[in-house]
């Protein structure tokens, strides 16, 4: 109550009363013919446009819907509120606009639904700007190639599958393989490294308890101030689940168009496709493969195309997307996964087996790829992680062969041993993203062979010791390295020297 100024309330009330003046013009109206399952069929309103917002006059006030099926005899409109309020015979009018939501810096730190209404119990959002939920993606001339890094703080991603600002990188894997964890760590890293990137997390049909835990964690880590959460739960109507990623993108686009950088996380697009399938079937559109409608590819392509790196003329802002897709039993050749894989600029594939072996993040080096991020990789990390991906893929293949016999030549043995140490190094606990210098120094210590004599189970403590000593003894060099430039000779020799001395403490005795 204290947040509401009485003067403001009185001003708004007066405005509301002024708005009561009914215009003497003819209003175009239709009538609800039937309603059910979140869809209202409307007779009349022949001038209504596709995706236009319609207002249904119910006894409890106006319920909004948007027109998705424009047929010869009637309009199929998906309700944005409860269908229990809507009855046959109620009159419907056109709002005259497509759906838009509040956008701008006022949204930061808030949890909202896809209509921009707060869900966090905070005051009403008074945003100065509004953004269209459905909007065209920037054209060819408005874009620039991806060239700035977006550090996730996860060593295996930043070293092997780097992500650039404006890139679309899919996170794909079975349930409980750590997909959301990667997204959360990436958001936390933006705050820890002070990158200035705004996070927009879109929860599509996620359990409210999970969203509450996520928001709590983001608050704990001090990330919430630069984050907007667009939340929908499984109990929300399919229309809200369908709108959520578009609404989130509208919020992110505000920052992109104002020369800032935003990171979109869509958790997850599988549920989004399912919500759209439900709507399409109820709107009686013909079902196709797996009962999805024919335009399910366009559903995601038009969404992800809005993520872009803008040209300097357009302010050089960027919108990076990390869509998440859940697979069934690791099947990445199913309909929705293949669609989204083909739309995005690469994917991070998480494997259940790796997860259960304790390799977390459970990233598959063989199936993951980043198609455009190489150009955006930080020079510091790039210079030390040259053959990391290839080496790790070869190691996993060799390791599976090595299970059948112990008669291996020296070269293979050393490759396996190096691979084991590398795998151990790339294990990273949740909520602990690493900075550029930490990643570069850790990778250099292992790929340079300085930890070859350290037992595999002691790699993590040795890494921690190395980082602690480097920070205490060579803070200046490491701060320079953290800027992202290629490590200087001094930095390399300092890392080598300290790595060798640390390794001695952990050598097998």
């Amino acid at each position: 109550m204290s947040d509401i100024s009485m003067t403001e309330l009185s001003k708004e009330l007066r405005q509301a009363i002024t708005n009561l003046e009914i215009s003497g013009d003819l209003n175009e109206v239709g009538v609800v013919v039937r309603v059910g399952d979140g869809v209202a069929w409307i007779h009349g309103l022949r001038q209504a446009g596709f995706s236009e917002v319609l207002e249904i006059q119910t006894d409890a006030g106006v319920v909004e819907a948007f027109a998705l099926s424009l047929l010869e005899d009637e309009i199929g409109a998906v309700l944005l509120g409860s269908d229990s309020l809507v009855k046959a015979g109620q009159s419907v009018s056109r709002k005259g606009s497509v759906l838009e939501i509040p956008v701008g810096p006022e949204m930061l730190g808030r949890v909202v639904n896809p209509l921009g209404q707060p869900l966090d119990g905070g005051p009403a959002i008074k945003a100065s700007a509004r953004g269209l939920v459905e909007r065209e993606a920037p054209g060819v001339m408005d874009r620039k190639s991806v060239h700035e890094p977006l550090m996730t703080g996860i060593m295996s991603i930043d070293a092997m599958f780097p992500i650039g600002r404006g890139q679309r990188e899919l996170i794909i894997g079975d349930r409980q393989t750590g997909k959301t964890a990667i997204a959360i760590d990436t958001m936390i890293n933006q705050a820890k490294q002070n990158t200035g990137v705004i996070n927009v997390y879109v929860a599509i049909g996620q359990k409210l308890s999970k969203i509450a835990r996520l928001v709590d964690r983001l608050k704990q880590e001090g990330v919430m101030d630069q984050t907007v959460v667009v939340a929908t739960s499984p109990s929300d109507p399919a229309s809200l689940l369908y709108l959520a990623p578009y609404a989130g993108t509208a919020i992110g686009e505000y920052f992109r168009d104002n020369s800032q950088h935003a990171l979109m996380i869509y958790d997850d697009l599988t549920k989004h496709a399912v919500a759209y399938r439900q709507m399409s079937l109820l709107l009686r559109r013909p079902p196709g493969r797996e009962a999805y409608p024919g335009d399910v590819f366009y559903l995601h392509s038009r969404l992800l195309e809005r993520s872009a790196k803008l040209s300097d003329d357009k302010g050089a802002g960027s919108l990076t997307a990390l869509p998440i897709i859940e697979t069934q039993a690791g099947d990445i050749s199913a309909y929705i996964p293949t669609n989204v894989i083909s739309i995005t600029d690469g994917q991070i594939f998480l494997e259940t087996d790796l997860f259960h072996q304790g390799i977390r993040p459970a990233i598959s080096a063989g199936l993951s790829v980043s198609r455009v991020g190489g150009a955006a990789q930080t020079a510091a990390v790039k210079s030390v992680s040259g053959n990391l991906k290839l080496g790790l893929s070869q190691f996993r293949e060799l390791a599976s062969f090595a299970q059948f016999g112990s008669d291996l030549d020296e070269a293979t043995k050393s490759q396996i041993e190096r691979g084991q140490r590398l795998t151990e190094l790339l294990k990273q606990p949740q909520y602990q993203p690493l900075s550029v210098w930490q990643q570069a120094a850790s990778i250099l210590a292992v790929t340079g062979g300085h930890f070859d004599d350290v037992a595999v189970d002691k790699i993590k403590p040795a890494q921690q010791d190395l980082l602690d000593k480097l920070w205490s003894d060579e803070k200046k060099l490491m701060t320079e390295l953290d800027m992202g430039a290629k490590p200087s000779d001094d930095a390399r020799s300092a890392i080598t020297r300290i790595a060798e001395s640390v390794a001695k403490d952990y050598e097998d005795r």
Binding site: L26, N27, H43
Partner: protein, 131 residues
């Protein structure tokens, strides 16, 4: 199985027939609706016929109010409708609707003018909810 004819098409057929022998076209429509088990759509087809007639210059509407409206008010409403729709002919039915509390409401094919107290109260409620 024959192709389903849209309500709009059926309404156009009936509207065309009204100028000639309207009894025959209505009987034909009734027979068609019974045969195709679409009798529930009769009221919607009537609405469509009204829409088509309005497009052709004949507006059929209704005026609801709490009290009986005087002839002068009705004639003003008729003039207003003519000016807004460019209709050649306006046919208005009157009805008493106490739910309106006060004022009046005119319903035309596809359009509406609601000057009732009920509407104002609904708007007030919606406005206050927003505040």
């Amino acid at each position: 199985m024959s192709r389903r004819i849209s309500r709009r098409r059926l309404a156009e057929y009936v509207a065309d027939g009204l100028d000639k022998d309207h009894g025959q076209s209505i009987n034909q429509l009734a027979a068609y609706l019974v045969e195709t088990r679409r009798t529930k759509e009769a009221s919607l087809i009537v609405r469509d016929v009204e829409d088509i007639l309005a497009e052709r210059g004949t507006v059929i509407g209704s005026v609801s109010s709490v009290n009986t409206l005087s002839n002068s008010i009705l004639s003003s409403i008729e003039k207003f409708i003519v000016s807004q729709t460019k209709a050649d002919r306006v046919l208005l039915k009157t009805a008493i609707d106490e739910e309106l509390i006060g004022g009046f409401r005119v319903r035309l094919p596809g359009y509406e003018i609601d000057q009732s107290i009920k509407k104002r109260l609904t708007n007030l409620r919606a406005g206050l909810k927003q505040v």
